[in-house]
Subunit: 316 residues, 4 copies
Amino acid sequence: MRIEQTKVNQMNIKKDMKVSELMEEFENCGVLGSGRVARASDLLAAMINEEDMHIFMSMAGPQVPGGMRNIIAYMIKHEYINVLVTSGANITHDLLESFGGRHYRDFGDDDEKLNKAGIGRIADVYTQNDDFEIFETEINKIFDKLSKKLDNPKDKGIISINTLLHEIGLIIDDENSILHQAAIHNVDIFAPGIVDSMLGLQLWMFTQDHNLILDVVKDMHHFSDLVFESSEIGGIFLGGGVPKHYTMASTLLKGGLDAAIQITMDRPETGSLSGAPLEEAKSWSKAKCGSNLANVVGDATIIFPLIFAAALDKIQ
Amino acid sequence: MRIEQTKVNQMNIKKDMKVSELMEEFENCGVLGSGRVARASDLLAAMINEEDMHIFMSMAGPQVPGGMRNIIAYMIKHEYINVLVTSGANITHDLLESFGGRHYRDFGDDDEKLNKAGIGRIADVYTQNDDFEIFETEINKIFDKLSKKLDNPKDKGIISINTLLHEIGLIIDDENSILHQAAIHNVDIFAPGIVDSMLGLQLWMFTQDHNLILDVVKDMHHFSDLVFESSEIGGIFLGGGVPKHYTMASTLLKGGLDAAIQITMDRPETGSLSGAPLEEAKSWSKAKCGSNLANVVGDATIIFPLIFAAALDKIQ
Amino acid sequence: MRIEQTKVNQMNIKKDMKVSELMEEFENCGVLGSGRVARASDLLAAMINEEDMHIFMSMAGPQVPGGMRNIIAYMIKHEYINVLVTSGANITHDLLESFGGRHYRDFGDDDEKLNKAGIGRIADVYTQNDDFEIFETEINKIFDKLSKKLDNPKDKGIISINTLLHEIGLIIDDENSILHQAAIHNVDIFAPGIVDSMLGLQLWMFTQDHNLILDVVKDMHHFSDLVFESSEIGGIFLGGGVPKHYTMASTLLKGGLDAAIQITMDRPETGSLSGAPLEEAKSWSKAKCGSNLANVVGDATIIFPLIFAAALDKIQ
Amino acid sequence: MRIEQTKVNQMNIKKDMKVSELMEEFENCGVLGSGRVARASDLLAAMINEEDMHIFMSMAGPQVPGGMRNIIAYMIKHEYINVLVTSGANITHDLLESFGGRHYRDFGDDDEKLNKAGIGRIADVYTQNDDFEIFETEINKIFDKLSKKLDNPKDKGIISINTLLHEIGLIIDDENSILHQAAIHNVDIFAPGIVDSMLGLQLWMFTQDHNLILDVVKDMHHFSDLVFESSEIGGIFLGGGVPKHYTMASTLLKGGLDAAIQITMDRPETGSLSGAPLEEAKSWSKAKCGSNLANVVGDATIIFPLIFAAALDKIQ
């Protein structure tokens, strides 16, 4: 064993330190949490710098309510990613902000009191019913436009989720919106569990007296085309859930991911895919044998801004 | 403070102990993990015994591969639950066993070797490609039947996920199948993320040359009817994910859950709904103010059999 | 690969089920959490049945406040274990109950209110200042007796922790006391971090005006004798911390553990020994290569009563 | 409720970002993980800037093997902290590096192979037997010196752990050593569980034929003096275990901590003090009612360098 090359270097901290300098200390240390974070940051930069690699990003959990909206929109704007797979909730909260709503803090955790005050709680992030009422009005205006557009013999009112989100993104006039940036930069958004959200609820109510059919299988035709078009596929997995598996499973068509990073607090013990290390995907051909995979156990709203800020200094 | 009534009793263990006797020790102790487990078990029995309560159960994570299939089928057979919301994966694995496939163990965790041997890994549970090939053949036969049945001017090839699963369950001839038991006992199964599974993949391939449209919003019409028909609603949440939120959000139409138990290893810190304690649902009117809620931090494949076995001795 | 022998059996639950029958279902399933629990239960029974094996048990975390006191006392009374390594806190709480104090529940989590009411909180377990005042009076009476006994030219007031705990155990008149049962059954108790507890605090105050020196290194002489006397060494690890490592490291003198079970919620990512799987101990010769080791990720106050109750039916 | 002041601001990332700029984004966001990290960083700077506050730092888990040695030594050198409470293991590994040993990486996790190669594993950090042999030789030389120094009628060979560590620190000639920096800067180090380490093992073997008595209670006399001398007490808790409780409990003598930050992956469910939020300490008067407390759920080797680097830009 070549001991010389494998020493752990103690980390050093100084005033006025840049994020990328901190990351270099993590890299020189190279073990435990800091080692994992450094490898993920380095791999993120490498994936983005790789011309032939298309990056599919998945995002579960309350990333938009938790402050990650601009970071994701920035990544889309710079076309660092090609596909975003997320939950109906993150899309709902992206739209909520575009329609003038906000997320709030410092209201405590007495859920019965919050209920009476018309405030919905996501851990220590809060939403207001008033904002959801505006959301309801605005999203229904958009559904109405779309329904009319699809009311023709060719479409028969049928739309895929991906196209729905693209159409909404085109209508939204908000530079900071994930949906808007994706629409104008041709980044595809998928949300296979979209019905399970406020957006889904509004869709359901709209369809009670309008002809609008959300064909959930149709998305997969387009997604598979995107997979086949990609020479190499990189993955960014923030959290687990349906977005993680949907993203991962899509790559099966091309033998799996070539490289990927995962940041999640979920653990492998229960056997849930959310907590599975990326290596497990190799057995299923959802990651290639020999692929470059980096797992970080941590909170994505802390770890991803950190590794992305450091990666930016390496991106050409 | 009335100190007298609130003493912690030390637990006692003896030979030939019944599960319900162990649970009684947990209850008398009443604190930390054993206290939470005992409250959940007690509430489970109470919910099932309550004539006017309909129970909606959600199940995420690899519960079927992890050995929970017969327990769920038993609950359905005895009509202890009225609705089951789960993932496409659990449905796929239920069908895999009905079609003669199995789940395996003791193959180690070298994922590249497993890949070459045609074995897919879920932590320490394994599946074989051969079994999935049979799954593919058999499920396509069923799709074919259904497609023909729906090929008429009224249906136009459109089907809801719930109806699809009911139809499959009627065709499957397997006493141990969750889908089969649900179909013959009129227990409704929902799987809003169904496309994100092997079943979903087969559906997508089938629809490439057949007219079969999975209308994901359609389910919500039926689910909302089930909610309105329920005098009181109880919830059983094994794991989190889309099944948890979809189940919870449905109850919004009736002011939220009246009672519920949750068993998950997920934690609240990331703000993910999966790890949120049930109390948070009150702020959103997804659980009633004053509802009876029991949270257990633990692995569902250990904790649920334990609390259900103890609850059985109290069920009338 | 011999597929036949490695199938996962779905678990079955029935009314009036015995704990050992539930454990048999876990064993037949054999994967994920239930598989790990079954292997630990089986190994526990085997270790106790093995005549030539001495069992060293370590116990961290609030096991006595959390309801495990009688179970541990029972194990000592039946001489299922030979050594117990624990924290000063568990010993303090064992004595607290012997002196007439209790643990309480249902006081909520407003720590400032609890402080004013003289109530100390351990998650949802509570203690009262009044009980600690009695503890103080009683333990000082015991220290006084011991100090006089040690006031001779041979002892010079010096005592090891292990001997101190043995002497206290002989004085305590309480069948349910861990210390008392250990004293009368010649089970050795070690508590290397004893100063870090209410007992330690009282010791410190006592020594301000009495000659009593706690020689922390002296214990290791006796512990090493116990290790050398053991043909084979089994380990039971509830939680991690100093008790885990102290127990494990002692076995180094004889090439490490021959068999062991561990139950903890701690995880390996931070590199902390508390969360390390038992296998890691092999690299340090704290577990033998080829030793039989079972790790369970779970809450010891739930899992240990469960596996011990099932093991009892197998113990000869 | 004053909604205006409580909005969540979406985070922004840019090239060449300073760590303190990233922390400002976390602060403006203010919720979930990033909010907790920002509050801890801000409080750390405030505690260090507060002239009248003495800071007691506790450090459990493999912080020295994990790359934190220089950061802790830097904090001591700049007298940012006044007391350090840690494990025998961190002290052992600090000395190991001073004696020329190192920590290594990239050896895999086959513990039986590692054992045969003389390599001890701490997750993905490795140590070599050769380095421990040098440690043994060197530490025994130091024990010998100390034993001779204490061999007089006044000391009778008795020494407190704190004094032992101070004396070792004076002898060690290594700018990067935590023990050395502490010795020359009059920062006190306590290690109540010191026997539970390689250092403890060597101590035990040395005392078999030398007169050296480690009086574990003696430390508390000095520690209590340090507490009484402090106008205000701040706490930094990396990980839990004995170091956390010992540090916290010492402050009882002065009504508890005035301010503190905690970084740990441990959770409250098991009731273990390691996972308890700092607020719980208020009930025990180990933190003052009204004290300023910040908890972060995360890996200290990632989070502490991040918050300390950001805090440095605010320290006067």
